[in-house]
């Protein structure tokens, strides 16, 4: 996993001496820099975007840094293995949730307390299954179907949908969280 310090990116790419992610031009500058760093990763590598040094984030910046980044990655195909947002607090979440819902996107967030959860446009079914995989560390579709008492084809469809959205990854024959297991 490769850590990208968004606070450092903000200071250097946008040349802003503040810690808040506000305004669309600032967000666009930060996103372009993050995209370049992600493009340099090896195929399958996971990027951890660390927001620990970011104060607050407004809607315009969240749209540029979060939504447009996820849309661009989805359009690029397989590389990288996934993106995890780390160090997220309430100061970021309100704007992030709004833009994710607006675009029908979701992402994995690691909160400051160490817990991970799905944020954005996912169904309750998808969220439950993601949380089960996250709790297990990795799981095969058969194992998940048996545990949930569901048809294998149905479980595989949901797991693959989460994998295509980079919310889970393949780990051999199993599905695993994109970031560290909590």
């Amino acid at each position: 996993m490769t850590r990208i310090d968004v606070g450092s990116v903000l200071r250097h790419s946008a040349n802003v001496p503040f810690s808040d992610l506000v305004t669309r031009p600032t967000g666009a500058a930060v996103r372009r820099c993050i995209e370049r760093e992600i493009a340099a990763l090896n195929v399958g590598d996971v990027a951890m975007l660390d927001f620990s040094h970011i104060g607050m984030m407004d809607y315009s910046c969240a749209d540029e840094v979060v939504a447009k980044l996820l849309l661009a990655l989805a359009a690029q195909g397989s590389a990288p293995g996934g993106v995890v947002f780390h160090g997220i607090t309430d100061a970021h979440l309100e704007a992030i949730e709004v833009v994710l819902d607006h675009h029908g996107l979701a992402l994995v967030v690691e909160f400051a307390d160490g817990g991970a959860r799905l944020v954005g446009a996912v169904t309750e079914d998808e969220r439950d299954i993601w949380e089960q995989v996250n709790a297990r560390g990795s799981a095969a579709a058969e194992e998940m179907a048996t545990a949930a008492g569901r048809e294998l084809v149905d479980m595989t469809r949901i797991l693959d949908s989460l994998r295509r959205r980079r919310l889970l990854r393949h780990d051999g024959a199993t599905y695993a969280p994109v970031g560290p297991v909590h």
Binding site: D58, Y59, D63, D90, A95
Partner: protein, 297 residues
């Protein structure tokens, strides 16, 4: 001939219409005197809108400051004269502010022309706003983030759409006219730029309707969250502002051109839509967040 525009004794978003009604018959290059001598109260909207009025005059208007010493002192502390002296020919002498950081003015009248200005505004106001929102308005800590986001998005509308610089001011005060004197936090953001109608027209985002005027443009942008930019993520700023104001039982009003729309909470009796107002360039926005009732003092 010089026209005298007399300001009302209490200058706020609604009484500012009296100012614009007086101004409407006079072209931009007409000689005008703005008479504030008998004004004893002004909201952030009143002060920022006055500066935008000055920006619309091609022939610099004269300005007669308030005679009441307390009012004069407050306008100085609010940073009004610092900018007014560049835009008006201010008659007489006005007091110098004794220093920034006065308790009732969270953000004195501040120019917004570029993105860096928005960063600076957000940076300056956060800590002070958090203290008042949590300890005086009894809102939960998360409301502070929403407030700063709302301020940021409101200021960005100037940078992204107005085509010229505008003004922002934030203040907390007891709202004696309504709410039984409860404390309110007020954001005013005013510009004399292109306004909502021309902004949407420039992006060819005008809806396909027979009727197209300032009121329709406001409805398109503020109610339907349509931006002049066609990208999918655009228009979320005003939508976010609307959501924040609604969740906090607040009030949002936006004036542009000859129309004004408002999201009116139960504690206010404003009308949601006004049309055929006196024309005025740009966009003028006001957000009012009231003290939460039933909370511990």
């Amino acid at each position: 001939m010089t026209a005298v525009i007399t300001l009302p004794s209490s200058l706020d978003d609604l009484s500012f219409e009296q100012v614009l009604d007086q101004l409407a018959p006079h072209p931009a290059d007409a000689k005008v005197i703005v008479d504030a001598r008998h004004t004893t109260f002004a909201t952030p909207f009143g002060l920022t809108a006055l500066l935008t009025l000055a920006q619309t005059r091609t022939d610099m208007a004269e300005f007669l400051p308030p005679e009441d010493p307390d009012t004069l002192s407050y306008w100085a502390r609010a940073g009004f004269f610092r900018h007014a002296e560049e835009l008006f020919a201010v008659r007489g002498t006005v007091p110098r502010p004794r220093g920034a950081g006065e308790s009732e003015v969270l953000l004195e009248v501040t120019p917004v022309t570029k993105s860096d200005d928005v960063h600076a505004v957000v940076e300056r106001i956060q800590q002070k706003a958090a203290h008042i929102l949590i300890n005086k308005l009894h809102l939960e800590p998360r409301a502070t983030m929403g407030f700063t986001m709302t301020l940021s998005e409101a200021c960005q509308n100037i940078v992204e759409h107005a085509g010229r610089g505008g003004w922002v001011m934030v203040q907390a005060y007891r709202y004696k006219k309504r709410l039984g004197g409860r404390l309110v936090m007020v954001i005013a953001v005013c510009d004399a730029g292109v306004g909502f109608r021309r902004s949407l027209e420039s992006g060819q985002r005008r809806p396909l309707t027979d009727r197209w005027d300032d009121a329709m443009a406001l409805e398109t942008a503020v109610v339907n969250s349509v931006s002049r930019y066609g990208e999918a993520g655009r228009g979320q700023g005003l939508k976010g502002i609307r959501g924040y104001v609604h969740r906090r039982d607040g009030k949002l009003s936006v004036r542009s051109g000859t129309a004004r729309i408002a999201y009116v909470p139960p504690w206010d009796d404003d009308v949601p839509r006004r049309e055929d107002l006196a024309p005025f360039p740009g966009a003028q926005l006001q957000i009012t967040i009231p003290e939460k009732v039933g909370a511990a003092a």
